[in-house]
Symmetry: C2
Subunit: 691 residues, 2 copies
């Protein structure tokens, strides 16, 4: 049961796909809290045992209690516990207590969620723009045509899952990538040329490690100009792509939000001519600094401009490219051109003057130092939208969503029934229909394995199923053991990409000493692929979560409610990765008797039944350990150890992991094509697995 409440005249985000009438009265369970000027505030009391789930891409726990979270899409690469905001805004949460409910604040602007930070017993939501609020109460187990495909019998849902399913029906079906998007991929900022790409592909091949894709970071562009190729580095990208395709490897180029200011550059000139860039109050394209230097921002909230920018991808699509990642679309700004000029001038005025006390120095150093991602810039340019001219600051959190929608809508025209790989750094709920996300510029920190894990269910709740972190860590230097342990979580995430930044240590798996361990971990990905794909597609079609907190399946188990480092993975499995340096293993809590599965590569699988309760589980680096739930089965590709990539994986030969006492049916996704949209619903086959 969903009730919608409108506060003011919110900007239409198109986050939802169902148009509900607005209810009157106050949105119980919230009551109005004391606002400050320019904001609205709703509050509610939390009981001691209430758990708050959701909010998507945010730091801290699966249980969000005890911190204040901000929705303000920001390019901040230091993902600490105290990070003020991240790349996405996912304003949906569920309060799980005696009377569970979900709340979605559909607000294009800045918000904060104080979940027991100021007062441990109060949850206070503050919005700085108008919004629609959806309150979702559990319906109990439901069967509706929209969100239920042919899976039977429908499980009786724990209220929280029911709330999530209602929400997901409200916001529409999640993006499903082509099959190859589930393969293992290598990326790095700094592959300076065609030769580097070949070296990576060869490196993996020679080490007999699988590889489905190599990503192209901004290096491939001519001076960071969208929809160009630097011919001195990549003289024949189309040829390279074809060569790689023949080897079963996809090239996935990046596309950045901002467009370089440069006379003679067609994208810039055409956009200026048509008025398709964001403009200042005087109607002049607003110039900001990003990777290409002085740049302008496509006005993706303007339908015409969006269509125009999306058509830019044609340049790469025509080369045979089938996947893209959209970056810098918070949008990230290194400087606003006018403010930079002022800062230079003011800094220069200090010449020969005494800066006085240290306050003088802070002021001085803040002139240039304070330019990045500044509200002063975000509030100084405008969008021409269907509802008129809107200041960017009021709709900031939609930018990445609409940039990605721009690409997806063009793909739909370019090849209507084809699925392309597409994911974005910045996002808002609604974008989950058009693409996935990666969780941005993390670091090579052990704590980021756990952060990666904790975000998965939160993102799934908000519709983002195609998600993954930069495995091994983007910023700073990785270590062999960190990468190995992280990959052992990454084998389960839909996006499985090893990625790092310019200037860091080599991070390709074949560069490290313990080659066998890497081969083992990577081959597990290909072994579990039939399960991963079947579960993913079913979750997308049915509005379910691929990753769930333990409490969703074991709501009455108090200990399970507190587990923050294990997840249910699909319907059959529970994962519990090792995430500490030098650790020989980790503790694991079993809410019930389960079967421990250890995979040392795709071919070496051992099984052991463990009783409910607490265990210390030893796990070698290179080994992947997980649990099979009672009554469940999991299909594995029998010959996965031979797979060089998903194209070469023999999916016809399965072996079954099973923890069953009677014959059990599994609904397997047999999507031989791997690209078509239309055939997916009909690609499930029921397989009876013998006990």
């Amino acid at each position: 049961m969903i009730a919608k409440y409108r506060f003011g005249s919110p900007f239409p985000t198109e986050a939802t796909v169902v148009d509900l009438p607005c209810a009157q009265g106050s949105p119980a369970p919230f009551c109005a809290a004391e606002p400050e000027e320019g904001e609205r505030r709703l509050g509610l009391h939390l009981s001691a045992e209430d758990i708050v789930y959701g909010l998507g891409e945010q730091p801290r726990g699966i249980n969000k209690r005890g911190w204040i979270y901000r929705s303000w899409n920001t390019d901040d690469p230091i993902h600490t516990e105290g990070i003020p905001a991240m790349y996405g805004s996912h304003n949906f949460f569920v309060v799980c207590g005696e009377k569970p409910f979900g709340a979605f604040f559909d607000c294009a602007g800045r918000m904060t969620f104080d979940v027991g930070y100021t007062d441990p017993e109060e949850l206070t939501v503050t919005a700085y723009e108008d919004f629609d609020l959806y309150i979702i109460r559990p319906d109990g187990a439901r069967e509706t045509a929209e969100n239920q495909s042919d899976r039977t019998p429908a499980p009786v849902l724990f209220p929280v899952e029911d709330i999530v399913r209602q929400f997901r029906a409200l916001i529409g079906q999640s993006y499903i990538p082509p099959k190859w998007g589930f393969g293992y991929a290598q990326s790095r900022w700094g592959y300076a040329s065609e030769g580097d790409i070949c070296e990576v592909a060869d490196g993996y091949a020679e080490a007999e490690l699988p590889l489905d894709a190599v990503y192209l970071d901004i290096d491939y562009m001519e001076r960071y100009k969208d929809f160009t190729v630097d011919l001195s580095r990549y003289p024949d990208l189309k040829g390279l792509n074809a060569e790689m395709a023949a080897r079963g490897i996809h090239l996935v180029p990046i596309v950045d939000a901002a467009v370089k200011v440069e006379d003679g550059y067609p994208v810039y000139e055409e956009g200026v001519e048509k008025g398709y860039f964001c403009k200042d109050a005087e109607g002049i394209p607003y110039v900001v600094g990003v990777w290409p230097g002085d740049s302008v921002l496509p006005d993706v909230l303007n339908a015409d401009a969006r269509e125009w920018f999306g058509s830019g991808y044609k340049f790469l699509l025509d080369m045979g490219i089938e996947g893209f990642w959209n970056d810098m679309n918070e949008p990230a700004l290194f400087y606003g051109k006018k403010r930079l000029e002022t800062a230079i001038e003011k800094t220069g005025e200090y010449k020969g003057k005494n800066i006085g006390d240290i306050g003088g120095f802070w002021k001085l150093s803040g002139l240039i130092g304070g330019l990045k991602n500044s509200d002063e810039d975000y509030n100084a340019f405008y969008h021409d939208t269907a509802v008129g001219r809107v200041c960017h600051g009021e709709v900031h959190n939609l930018y990445g969503y609409y940039m990605t929608r721009s690409a997806a809508e063009y793909f739909e025209k370019y090849a209507p029934d084809k699925r392309f790989l597409l994911f974005s750094r910045s996002s808002y709920i609604g974008m989950h229909r058009y693409g996935g996300i990666w969780t941005g510029d993390n670091c090579s920190w052990w704590s980021h394995i756990l952060l990666n894990l904790k975000m998965l269910p939160s993102l799934n709740m908000c519709g983002f199923l195609y998600v993954g972190a930069d495995l091994g860590g983007f910023g700073e230097n990785t270590t062999e053991d960190l990468l190995l342990r992280w990959l052992a979580l990454g084998v389960f995430t839909p996006l499985m990409r090893n990625h790092t930044t310019l200037g860091t240590r080599n991070q390709e798996c074949y560069r490290f000493k313990n080659r066998k361990a890497f081969a083992d971990v990577l081959s597990v990905r290909y072994a579990i692929f039939p399960y991963l794909y079947s579960e993913y597609v079913a979750c997308a079609l049915e509005g379910r979560m691929l990753f769930r907190p333990l409490s969703f399946a074991y709501p009455s188990d108090k200990r399970a409610r507190g587990v923050e480092d294990q997840l249910l993975f699909g319907d059959s499995a529970m994962i519990a990765p090792v995430y500490e340096q030098n650790a020989k293993g980790r503790y694991v809590y079993l809410p019930e008797r389960m079967k421990l599965v250890r995979m040392r590569g795709a071919a070496d699988v051992s099984e052991e039944i463990w009783e409910a309760g607490d265990h210390f589980m030893e796990v070698e680096p290179g080994e992947v350990a997980f649990f099979l739930r009672p009554g469940k089965v999991m299909p594995l590709a029998a010959d996965a150890a031979k797979a060089k990539n998903l194209a070469s994986l023999d999916e016809s030969k399965l072996v079954w992991l099973k923890f069953i006492s009677e014959d059990t049916e599994y609904r397997l996704c047999r999507d031989e094509d791997g690209y078509r949209k239309s055939s997916l619903k009909d690609s499930f086959v029921r397989v009876v697995v013998k006990a």
Copy 2:
């Protein structure tokens, strides 16, 4: 057995107190590794099961394997896993394997320790200046007059402990603070006036929470000038100190390394006149920017200057102050004056010019942005030492040590037999004889509870016994639960100080809702004080560690060797704090049968015997849980719940926690005076505890 090897002509650090002859030949187990220009490099092979302990104040694990650590004292407030260097340089480690040994690189300059980072099986030490290397092999159980007081019988030591004890004898006895230095203390940058201090003292008193000290951050000084008081804020510091002393509360002012450049400021003028500040190549005092704005650095490596700077503390000592913390003594530099002037000029030259591509912007923003803690500055000024003029860059890591020594040596003159509280942010081995350290500007992050815990044994190994972290976190905003859980570790650390930075949320315990939980945790500190003090003093006198990894006591227990979140605390106890948000408890590994002690305040103690193995231990916020080892006892102050501070704690009435089957002797430190140095050795009494 200690062998000393000399490489080049190292600067005499005075880290050691024993003058050993140099051995010839190569320092087995090291062999020379390929150096680059300007460095020396030694390497050794690590076996798979070798553990590397030590290195003092560094990030990551108790077991240092898998990362590269840098000795280069740096003011960096973002203590992530990848932090390049911290405030102290503690170049001592122990390789614990088949043939355990310790290695101390006595090097005043930059060093790196690659402990299996580049290659998981190689440990490579690189020094950028000359050094002495001490290799320490286990002697087996030893009895020597120097490092053994009257504790009997001497335990047969695990080789690692024996190595540590030899090392500690080499570097001399650790600092012992006055008794009150073990009391709970409140601090904040931002107590703007006398009134704020009184408010804190009253706040604690009214909430019936104990308090032994209030710290004065840089706010008390007149425009951040050392050895001054801002009379507009603190009109009568002496009077305030007396008033607080009457309430059993000590005031502990900060002293910063740098001295403000200001005509008419006696410290500056006298220092310039006598040539006591660090000078550039032309002999002109080198001007840097720190809190007071333009400043100069006392040349603490010059014996006369050191004596002179130490005498500055008299100003505060004469007011009755008995404790100090030395800060910014890496030394931290916000800018070098000349480089700032150049940066301003160069920035100004960009006026009206096109900065071109984004590289141009990085260059521009790096002009002012790159000034902080720059090697260009560290290499541009000099010290006048007993061995001649030395460039600061060559002896950088000694600065904080010698600044603190400067104070300690003056205290020795001021009141020869009196112990003062003294600790420092920056340090080097050798400083442990003169004062303690706090582990610098941490953050209000849950991960920093664990970082706090992990550094404790590493610092103890290197001689630093009086240590503690900013409880609740210095940077960013704390939460009630974080502070409570952190205090539950802090009750065990010798320095127990709640401290935070300017502009953060109020962090005094009485500001929070769950008053009872705070009262309970704090009172545990006073209850265990007789044990903490007895163990601390004995460890200092005998060169032992107060906090030990489990493997030190259970070397043959493989699981114990891997435990990174529990510590032995003194001879009798094992601690295992909760360090995760929203956690109801934590896992704990018991290498043997132990007694779980739960303290809900000083008066509410429950005990339970737990078997060896793995357990999930529930711990309420506000509760302190720890373990008593078999055969051990622990004295508690019976009436600790009544204590307002250590002065009011009745130490005569003890209750004993015990897990013994026969009568057991405990050596209790009965230091009634609490200040004298001379009487400490004789203050131990043997108490027989009945089974």
